[in-house]
Amino acid sequence: MSSRLRRLALGLTVAFLPFAAAAQDLAIGLAGSITSIDPHYHNVGPNNTIAAHIFDRLVDQDEQQRLKPGLAVSWKAIDDTTWEFKLRPGVTFHDGTPFGAADVVATFKRVPWVPNSPSSFSASVRPIAEIVVVDDLTLHFKTQKPAPLLPNDLASVNITSRKAVEAPTAEFNSGPAAIGTGPYKFVSFQAGDRVVLARNDAYWGAKPHWANVVVRVMPNNATRTAALLSGDVQIIDAVPSVDLAAIKKSPTLSMASITSNRLIYLHLDSFRDETPMVTDKAGQPLKANPLKDPRVRAALSHAINRKAIVDRIFEGEAIAAGGFLPEGFFGASSKFQPDAYDVELAKKLLAEAGFPNGLAMTIHGPSDRYPNADKVIQAIGPMFTRAGIETKVQTQPWSTYATQSAGPTYAFSVMLVGWGSGTGEVSSPLRSLVATPNKDKGWGASNRGRYSNPKLDAAIDEIMATIDDKKREQLLQDATAMAMQDHAIIPLFYNVNSWAMKKGLTYAPRADEYTYAMTVKPAG
């Protein structure tokens, strides 16, 4: 080959090859949209993911959401209403200013202040009645009543600089206020499209491998997979079920997955005396709401073939559920096994409850929001029908479903919903899903079935006043057992979070679905 020809060939190759990424560059494809860099503006997964790169929390969560030291090196309850936090010495912000107690105070002041926030973190700092600065590295948080979950709550609050106490969200998005202590520095942000980050070489913790990180938003499943296959990105989250088999077989890709903190379950209207979507077999209204009878709720649970749903719809990437959170989370236990699939038992329970001829009903599910939600609810319909309950299935987009299924509308009787525990422990679903709705306590805000059980409420009260971890863990298990025996909800399965990446990379998968560039590493 003449040298001219060779140069031409080289030129062509350079022109057409995707810009070869340098060894220190990482591009991530995320399914969810990033709406802001302000870590206190919008409490939503993708935003929290980005915030975790730029900022630190007092308390950190590991891959299983167990607590570990962050900007606080230690914390302990001095008495029932005082938490002492010791801060990490020698930490500096990206702009070189040292980190201290004043930054924490400023952050907690800013959190409830952020204007126009569609979803804030105020609830996480609300238990704190007063902050006492003991010295620059010691803080006392005084609470009005015992707050055993304060460390868990604070694990979601990113610490911003004291200079940013009154910085509006726009100043974070454009950069000047996006100053944290985290492993990455902010470079640029295009809303809904991408975030560019650069390594913070002065970081106090383990130094991340990648010098430059681009996080790109790719909501379309096919697009996200194609971007990984073509090498535009090196890792994607939320691997679509349809692509799982191909990715597992691919010689150039590898996968990482972990059981999620998200339970998919059926909520049942166990409140109204007449429920809108259940009738007798002939379609005539019933005198009473059968879903108030625990035997009917148990019958529904036994009519569901969870294994078939997991194997057929999720290609095995889900885990049949019998509790609120999978094993390994605080308060969860292997005691809570899924109800056995037993159509005869279901029929028997129905007969005992006074419905030997069965029932007829319409069940509802969202068509988006959770992976394969529409397919799951469509599979459950025929399962109920087999057990003698003539069942119709309706799905709606989440935008309408969310309103219809919640108050004050409460249009449904049996509905499919999901719950991810932000705190990583069992009191979160107990308080939100099965506690009697109570505005003052902040309970039952997502109790779409309005299940109410005074004994369970009393148990939750006790949990929320117990600071001792060991004792509280036992109480959580007891309360879970009570809720599950009564079938307050019907757990279906836990999601599995999965990531797909270029062969030669590893990722430490996270139960909270967050994708951290810090834990993407070259293999070996």
């Binding site: 204007p115 105020s122 379309n220 309103t403 505005k439």
Partner: protein
């Protein structure tokens, strides 16, 4: 002509008003936006705070009146989700969409016009028949499928082009655009082709039909008898007379690709307005949905007005007057 333009602008204002009313109340009826974007584990106090922070605690008619008041002053409200003024958000996305739209229309003209001309001048030749048959493919293949195939072949299999997204932007004459960078073009080619395909097919058919209609007419024969060159006959006499429908359709297409490139923008993850509107509808981000539709209606009305004016320039017989004169 001035009176005509003024009247058209008044009509446009009316359309915009009716549009805002329909969309505002339509989105309100779909559902409660706070249910969508408040964190799932938010308690009642936090929900009430979010509702009040976004002004959703007021009665709907009051929300609408304050929207109209703001809109008259150019303020269409803030996005619930991004916290930015809706118009700012849309204008941020506009350059990406315009790039894609102009590239697609450019491809339509440089590919569709000559092919259509050829097919019209030599309708029975092999090339002419092939072009016509090819245009049927352009009509019948669904956009989302072609898009995925383009990605599979050129990005995944051959690895020549990036699979999605917009390339880096550069500034030239004060305009920031990815058209001024090589990588920008590499990102643009596939989505532009995908968006242009249907339009190219339409253009081929339109031009071919026009040419075949015009060729047998007397003035063409006279021109030939006069001994004019073939090039001049086609380039001036034929072209000028088939331009009316071509300009109409190009105008409509430009409006359509700006406003409704939703499918292509989604598949190619193009950060334009189409992707914004789809995301916003799913999130019930009402200020963005309303402002978006207002902006696109305004753009489409403007393009149509321009088309009407171009008409009168192309064909002196057309006067811009209202029919009832």
């Amino acid at each position: 002509m001035t009176a005509y333009v003024i009247r058209r602008l008044l009509q446009a204002a009316l359309v915009l008003f009716v549009m805002s009313l329909l969309v505002f109340f339509g989105v309100y009826l779909i559902g409660d936006p706070v249910e969508i974007f408040v964190a799932a584990d938010a308690d009642q106090v936090e929900r009430a705070r979010a509702i009040a922070a976004l002004g959703l605690d007021k009665p709907i008619w009051e929300q609408y009146t304050s929207f109209v008041q703001g809109a008259l002053g150019g303020d269409f409200g803030r996005s619930f989700v991004f916290g930015l003024p809706a118009v700012t958000l849309i204008l941020q996305r506009l350059p990406a969409t315009l790039e894609l739209a102009f590239a697609a229309v450019f491809l339509t003209v440089v590919i569709g016009l000559p092919l259509g001309l050829w097919a019209g001048l030599r309708p029975d030749g092999f090339a002419g028949r092939t072009i016509l048959a090819g245009s049927i493919l352009g009509f019948s293949l669904p956009t989302f499928w072609v898009g995925i195939m383009l990605i599979l072949v050129f990005a995944v299999q051959l690895g020549w082009l990036p699979s999605n997204g917009r390339g880096p932007v550069a500034e030239f004459l004060g305009i920031k655009s990815s058209l001024f960078t090589v990588d920008g073009w590499r990102h643009l080619i596939l989505p532009a082709i995908n968006l242009a395909l249907l339009n190219i097919a339409l253009m081929i058919r339109l031009v071919r039909a026009g040419v075949r209609e015009v060729l047998p007419l007397d003035y063409i024969r006279f021109a030939r008898a006069k001994g004019l060159s073939w090039g001049r006959i086609v380039g001036v006499h034929v072209m000028k007379n088939i331009m009316l429908p071509v300009v109409t359709v190009l105008g409509l297409e430009l409006g359509a690709v700006i406003a409704f490139a939703v499918v292509t923008e989604s598949i190619f993850n193009w950060p334009g307005m189409g992707k914004l509107i789809i995301d916003s509808i799913q999130r019930l981000d009402r200020p963005v949905v309303v402002a978006y539709l207002m902006v696109t209606v305004a753009i489409v009305i403007f393009i149509n007005l321009v088309v009407d004016v171009v008409y009168s320039l192309l064909d002196p017989r057309i006067r811009l007057k209202d029919l009832d004169h």
